[in-house]
C-alpha cells in the first residue's frame, strides 16, 4: 500500500447540474413525434422493428427445434475432447473461478483506495458488478438451460461461489497491481496444467467452444507483447531492425487471415528442419493467428507511441533514465492507455476470427455447429439456422462483454479528459 504521508480532507462529491425530468409522454413527443417527418419515420421503423422482433421471437421461442443443441451441448463445448477426461475441464474451471475473482476483487480494492485518496473519480461499484458480468451470466444461463444437467448446474454454481469468495478475498487482501496480475496468470497457468498435465489432454485434442477460448485467449496473450515489440522495433534507431519490422507488418497486413492460416497449416512443417517434430494443427493455427494479429497490434500501438509528446522522453532523459526504462516506464504506459479501444477492437476481431480455423480442419465452435446438422437424427432437416443462431449468440455475448469492459476501462483511465 502506498504510504500516506499527508492527511487529505475528504473531497466533497462534485455538484451535478440540475436534471430536467421528462415524463415518458413528454419524452416521446419531443423525440419521436417532433414533426410530421419524425412521426412518419417513427411509425415506419417501429413497424419494421416490431415485425422483425416478432419473427425472431416466434422462431426462438416457438418454432425452433432446440433439441439439436440440447443433445449436442457437450459436443459444442468441447467437441473431440475425451469424455472420460471431462472432469479436468471442470477442475480447471474450479481453479479459474476463484483466481479471476481474486484478481477482480484486488483490482476493485485498489480502485477504491485511489478514490478514497482523492486521486480518481468515484465510480459506484456495487450495483455494477452484476451488470458488468451480465453478458457472461446470460451466456452461462443459456448454456445450462440447454444442458439440462443437474450436475453441470451444481458445478457451475460451485465455480460461481468460489469466484465470489475469491472476489471478497481479493478485496480484503488488496495486492498491488503487478501481484494481482501474477495471481491471475498463475490461475490461468494452473487451470491449463490441470487439463493438460499429468496424463491429461494436450490442446491438439481440444475442440468446440473450449478451443475457441484457447485460440482467443492464447492469441491475445501472445500477439499483444509481440505486437508491442514490433511497434517499438519500427521506431528503432537501428535501420536493420526497423526494416525487418516494417516488412513484417506490411506483409502480414497485406495478406488475408485465411491465407495466413493455410500457410500456417501447410508451410510451418516445411520450414522446420528435418527431424524436428511438427507442431500440432492447433499449435500451427495459433501461431498463424498470433503472427497475423501482431501486425495489427503493432500498427495500433504505433499510433499510441506517436501520441506521446517528445517532452516526456526529454524529461526522462534529463533525469538520467536509461532508454529501456524510458520505454517501459514512461512511453509505453502512456501510449497503451490511449490505444485501448483499438486494441480491444482488434482482440474482438481475433475472438471472432478464430472461427476461420474451421477451414483448416479444426473443430472449434462454429465448425461443430455445422457438423452436428449432419448427424443421422438431424440430417437434412434445415436445423442449420438453430445451430448458427446458437453459435452467433455465444460469439456475441463474448464480444459484447469485451466491448463493454473496454468502455469501462476507457472511462476509468479518464481518456478524453485531457
Amino acid at each position: 500500500m502506498a504510504t500516506r504521508i499527508d492527511t487529505l480532507e475528504p473531497i466533497p462529491a462534485p455538484e451535478r447540474p440540475p436534471q430536467r425530468r421528462l415524463s415518458p409522454r413528454e419524452w416521446a413527443r419531443e423525440n419521436l413525434f417532433g414533426s410530421w417527418l419524425d412521426t412518419v419515420l417513427t411509425v415506419v421503423f417501429g413497424l419494421v422493428v416490431a415485425w422483425l422482433v416478432y419473427r425472431l421471437g416466434k422462431f426462438v421461442f416457438v418454432d425452433a427445434r432446440w433439441e439439436i443443441i440440447e443433445r449436442n451441448i457437450t459436443n459444442l463445448m468441447v467437441s473431440r475432447f475425451p469424455r472420460d477426461e471431462l472432469w479436468r475441464v471442470w477442475a480447471a474451471l474450479l481453479v479459474l473461478g476463484p483466481s479471476l475473482g481474486f484478481g477482480a476483487g484486488s483490482a476493485a480494492a485498489a480502485r477504491r483506495r485511489e478514490a478514497e485518496e482523492g486521486r480518481a473519480a468515484v465510480v459506484p461499484e456495487r450495483a455494477s458488478a452484476l451488470r458488468r458480468l451480465g453478458p457472461l451470466l446470460l451466456l452461462v444461463g443459456v448454456l445450462l438451460w440447454f444442458a439440462q444437467s443437474f450436475q453441470a448446474t451444481l458445478l457451475t454454481l460451485a465455480v460461481g461461489v468460489l469466484g465470489v469468495a475469491g472476489y471478497l478475498l481479493g478485496r480484503r487482501v488488496a495486492l498491488s497491481g503487478r501481484r494481482t496480475a501474477l495471481v491471475v496468470l498463475l490461475g490461468i497457468a494452473a487451470a491449463y496444467v490441470v487439463v493438460t498435465g499429468f496424463g491429461g489432454v494436450g490442446w491438439e485434442d481440444w475442440g468446440g467452444f473450449m478451443l475457441t477460448i484457447l485460440l482467443a485467449v492464447g492469441g491475445i496473450l501472445l500477439a499483444f507483447p509481440f505486437g508491442v515489440l514490433l511497434a517499438l522495433g519500427r521506431r528503432s534507431s537501428l535501420p536493420v531492425v526497423r526494416a525487418v519490422c516494417v516488412a513484417y507488418i506490411e506483409l502480414f497486413r497485406g495478406v488475408p487471415l485465411i491465407a495466413v492460416l493455410f500457410m500456417g497449416a501447410f508451410m510451418i512443417g516445411f520450414l522446420l528442419p528435418a527431424g524436428v517434430e511438427r507442431p500440432s494443427l492447433v499449435t500451427r493455427a495459433l501461431i498463424a493467428l498470433v503472427l497475423f494479429t501482431a501486425a495489427y497490434v503493432a500498427e495500433i500501438v504505433r499510433g499510441g507511441l506517436q501520441g506521446v509528446p517528445a517532452g516526456q522522453v526529454e524529461a526522462a532523459q534529463a533525469l538520467g533514465l536509461s532508454h529501456f526504462r524510458i520505454t517501459t516506464r514512461i512511453v509505453l504506459p502512456q501510449a497503451l492507455r490511449t490505444v485501448i479501444p483499438g486494441l480491444v477492437g482488434q482482440f474482438i476481431s481475433l475472438f471472432k476470427d478464430t472461427s476461420l480455423v474451421a477451414i483448416i480442419g479444426l473443430t472449434e465452435l462454429l465448425n461443430v455447429s455445422r457438423n452436428i446438422t449432419a448427424q443421422p437424427d438431424f440430417i437434412a432437416q434445415g436445423l442449420i439456422v438453430e445451430t448458427l443462431l446458437f453459435a452467433a449468440f455465444v460469439y456475441w455475448t463474448g464480444a459484447y462483454w469485451m466491448s463493454r469492459e473496454s468502455q469501462r476501462l476507457e472511462r476509468r483511465l479518464g481518456l478524453g479528459e485531457r
Partner: protein, 248 residues
C-alpha cells in the same frame, strides 16, 4: 571525478551546433563556477534553449568541448548518463509524467537510477516536496494540480536526483501571472542554498535579484556577459541595449 581547475562547474568552449544548414550555436564560450547563478536572456530563436540542452545532451553539439563537473561530454552512453545524473532540468512545459502520481514522479529516477529503496526515496521525495511547499499534493496526479504547482513538482523531481547543477528553460513562461511568483520564490531559495544554476528567463526582476552574471545571446552567439548591475545600467553592445529597451 574531481574538477580540473578548482571551482569550475561547467565549461563550454567553442561550442557550435547546426540544425541542417541552420547554425543555432556559433562558437559559444561560457564557464560557470560552482554555486554560481547565471541568467541567460535574448530574443526568441537566439539559441538559449539549444545551449542549455547541449549541456545534458538533449541536443548533440557538433563542435567544441563541454565539460561538466570535470567530465567531458562525449558520445559514450555511460558518460552521458553520468552527466545527466548530475544535471537537473526544468522545462517550460513542466513535462511531468501524467500517468504517475506526484510522489511517483519524484521518486522514479532516484529509485531506478540511484537505486534507492522505496522508503528512502519516499522520504527524500517528501523532503523535496516540502521544500517546494506542496507536500499535501503527493498522492495526486499532475493534471489535478495548477500550473504553478506542477512546475514546483517538476523542480522537486529534478532535485530528487540530488544534482549538482540545475538548468531552467523558461520555467515560468507557460504560467499564469499569479503563479509565476510561487515558482520564482522556490528558484530563488534554491539559488540561496548554493545550487549552481543556469536560468533562461525573461523575468528581469528575478535576474536582478538572483543572478551573479547575466548572459545575453543573439543569433547563436553570446553577445555580452556581465554582472546584473553592469548589464542593466550600462550595457556595452548595441544589440543588448535594443533588447533591454524592448523588454523592460
Amino acid at each position: 571525478m574531481s574538477t580540473e581547475n578548482g571551482k569550475g562547474m561547467i565549461q563550454l568552449e567553442g561550442v557550435s551546433k547546426w540544425f541542417g544548414d541552420f547554425q543555432a550555436l556559433n562558437a559559444v564560450d561560457l564557464a560557470v563556477d560552482r554555486q554560481e547563478v547565471v541568467v541567460v536572456c535574448g530574443p526568441s530563436g537566439s539559441g538559449k534553449s539549444t545551449m542549455i540542452r547541449c549541456i545534458n545532451r538533449l541536443e548533440k553539439h557538433d563542435q567544441g568541448r563541454i565539460v561538466v563537473d570535470g567530465i567531458e561530454l562525449s558520445d559514450d552512453l555511460r558518460n552521458i548518463q553520468e552527466i545527466r545524473r548530475e544535471v537537473g532540468m526544468v522545462f517550460q512545459q513542466f513535462n511531468l509524467f501524467p500517468h504517475l502520481t506526484v510522489l511517483d514522479n519524484v521518486t522514479l529516477a532516484p529509485r531506478q537510477v540511484r537505486r534507492w529503496n522505496k522508503a528512502k526515496a519516499n522520504e527524500k521525495a517528501m523532503e523535496h516536496l516540502r521544500r517546494v511547499r506542496i507536500p499535501e499534493q503527493a498522492h495526486k496526479y499532475p493534471l489535478q494540480l495548477s500550473g504553478g504547482q506542477q512546475q514546483r513538482v517538476a523542480i522537486a523531481r529534478a532535485l530528487a536526483m540530488e544534482p549538482k547543477i540545475m538548468l531552467f528553460d523558461e520555467a515560468t513562461s507557460a504560467l499564469d501571472p499569479e503563479m509565476i511568483k510561487e515558482v520564482l520564490d522556490v528558484m530563488e531559495e534554491l539559488a540561496e542554498s548554493g545550487m549552481t544554476m543556469i536560468v533562461v528567463t525573461h523575468e528581469m526582476g528575478f535576474a536582478r535579484a538572483v543572478a551573479r552574471r547575466m548572459v545575453f545571446m543573439a543569433e547563436g552567439e553570446i553577445v555580452e556577459v556581465g554582472t546584473p548591475e553592469h548589464f542593466f545600467t550600462n550595457p556595452r553592445e548595441e544589440r543588448t541595449k535594443q533588447f533591454l529597451s524592448q523588454i523592460l
